[in-house]
């Protein structure tokens, strides 16, 4: 009796499990870090790459390394190559569209630690300095050195960013964006395929996050449209358009990014409030005389 009840359940569950494993394989990604596994402790063959499939976005992605190119900071960046030794925070800025009055007021209230308006971290008000979530797309822009990964499931694509260990769910089950969602740090996202391009639309972003390290703002009305296209095993093209009429008078079209597949896995990089607070008190704030050395 028990087997007759279980059998109709086992078959679809088994199929689902198999499909999960198939989608979830990564392209030649190995996993170790200092303080964790050593390279010789990993099973052989664990990271043999799969054949190329344009509809499989899985993998660990990062920005290419160029001498002097530190980090991408925003949808557009003025300086792509920064000479070594240049204080980058003085050399870069984003190029957002013109702001509305609301957007400009927000912008003026933000005191960033990067860019032409930068102040010492202890004097700024960037919420990430207290371990608040970075939000999207700002977390993504850290991915030059701190990569992110796509994990593909039957009804969703998970985007996992190493920096701050942030997760973003992109639903692929056919649902539309929510009509009037409660704001979320990483918003709400849905995705579908148009040929070989994965189109992602997002809304419902909490307006406490900044778009970038320069303090470019956004409202809870922000809508993002992204287009991902895997051109080969090692390269993923990505374009982004931000529409936020409450903040900007026209859409902000980001520069196209070509992500490069990394051959090492994501590792844990969590901003622990207690640790950040301790560091801030003992080092950062003491550096500007805000706390006692």
């Amino acid at each position: 009796m028990r087997n007759r009840v279980m059998s109709p359940i086992l078959v679809p569950v088994a199929l689902l499990a198999c499909s999960c494993v198939t989608f979830a394989q990564t392209y030649g990604t190995k996993g170790y870090s200092p303080g964790a596994w050593k390279p010789d402790e990993l099973p052989k063959g664990v990271s043999d790459p799969k054949p190329f499939n344009a509809h499989d976005l899985s993998g660990v992605w990062s920005l290419p390394t160029t001498q002097g190119y530190f980090e991408r900071h925003s949808l557009n960046d003025k300086a792509v190559k920064i000479p070594p030794g240049t204080p980058e925070q003085f050399g870069e800025s984003a190029f957002p569209p013109p702001m509305t009055a609301w957007g400009k007021a927000k912008f003026d209230s933000y005191k960033p630690n990067y860019g032409p308006r930068s102040v010492p971290p202890g004097q700024g008000n960037d919420p990430i300095g207290d371990c608040d979530p970075m939000g999207y797309p700002q977390d993504l822009f850290r991915a030059h050195l701190l990569p992110w990964e796509f994990l593909v499931l039957p009804d969703q694509v998970l985007q996992h960013m190493q920096f701050r260990d942030a997760w973003r769910i992109i639903w692929t089950d056919g649902r539309d964006l929510p009509k009037n969602p409660d704001p979320a740090w990483y918003g709400y996202s849905v995705g579908h395929w148009e040929g070989d391009t994965f189109v992602v639309k997002s809304n419902g972003y909490d307006d406490r996050t900044w778009l970038d390290l320069y303090g470019d703002p956004h409202s809870d009305q922000m809508v993002l449209e992204e287009r991902f296209r895997r051109v080969d095993i090692d390269h993923l093209e990505h374009s982004m358009t931000l529409t936020d009429p409450k903040t900007y008078t026209q859409p902000w079209v980001g520069d196209k990014i070509t992500w490069v597949r990394k051959k090492v896995a994501i590792f844990e990089q969590i901003c622990a409030p207690s640790e950040e607070s301790h560091f801030n008190d003992r080092i950062r704030d003491a550096a500007i005389g805000k706390s006692k050395p």
């Binding site: 499990a17 980090e71 204080p87 971290p121 590792f267 990089q269 950062r284």
Partner: protein, 140 residues
């Protein structure tokens, strides 16, 4: 048979981080001297070694010729980046004698961004240079 979410996807924990220039972190260059020739070198004793995300930190006491103790602190990057250069959570402990070189705070406060630390046995850290934003992957 119960399907757990953990069986549906593979999470590989552990990776090698690329080295990030220290000045790329938290707008550090705004608070510290960054120019050539601005580094200072001090001899001191470790009081605390902070091994944590997103930053590591080194606190050490420096005693001058008059016996006055100054409480210094040095800022470093995240643990995995520092691991590339030979640092670890146990490499320093209170009481260790060290020689520290770094760029001091613009405010004059006894804080710096760490360039190099030499341990009592002469071992200098970081013990490996990362080329620009060089990416290393010994697993390849």
């Amino acid at each position: 048979m119960k399907l757990k979410l953990s069986t549906c996807f593979v999470l590989l924990v552990g990776s090698l981080v690329v080295g990030a220039p220290l000045f790329a972190h938290h707008g550090t260059g705004v608070a510290y001297e960054t120019g050539k020739g601005t580094e200072v070198t001090l001899k001191g004793t470790v009081t605390e070694w902070i091994w944590a995300n997103p930053h590591c930190g080194l606190l050490f006491d420096v005693t001058d010729a008059k016996g006055i103790v100054q409480h210094w602190g040095a800022e470093l990057g995240n643990p995995h980046k520092e691991s590339l250069g030979g640092f670890s959570k146990d490499i320093l402990k209170p009481g260790d004698k060290i020689t520290v070189t770094g760029h001091p705070s613009k405010s004059g406060a006894p804080r710096m961004t760490l360039s190099r630390v030499v341990l009592a046995d002469g071992h200098a850290l970081p013990d490996k240079a990362v080329k620009g934003n060089g990416e290393e992957d010994p697993s390849e």
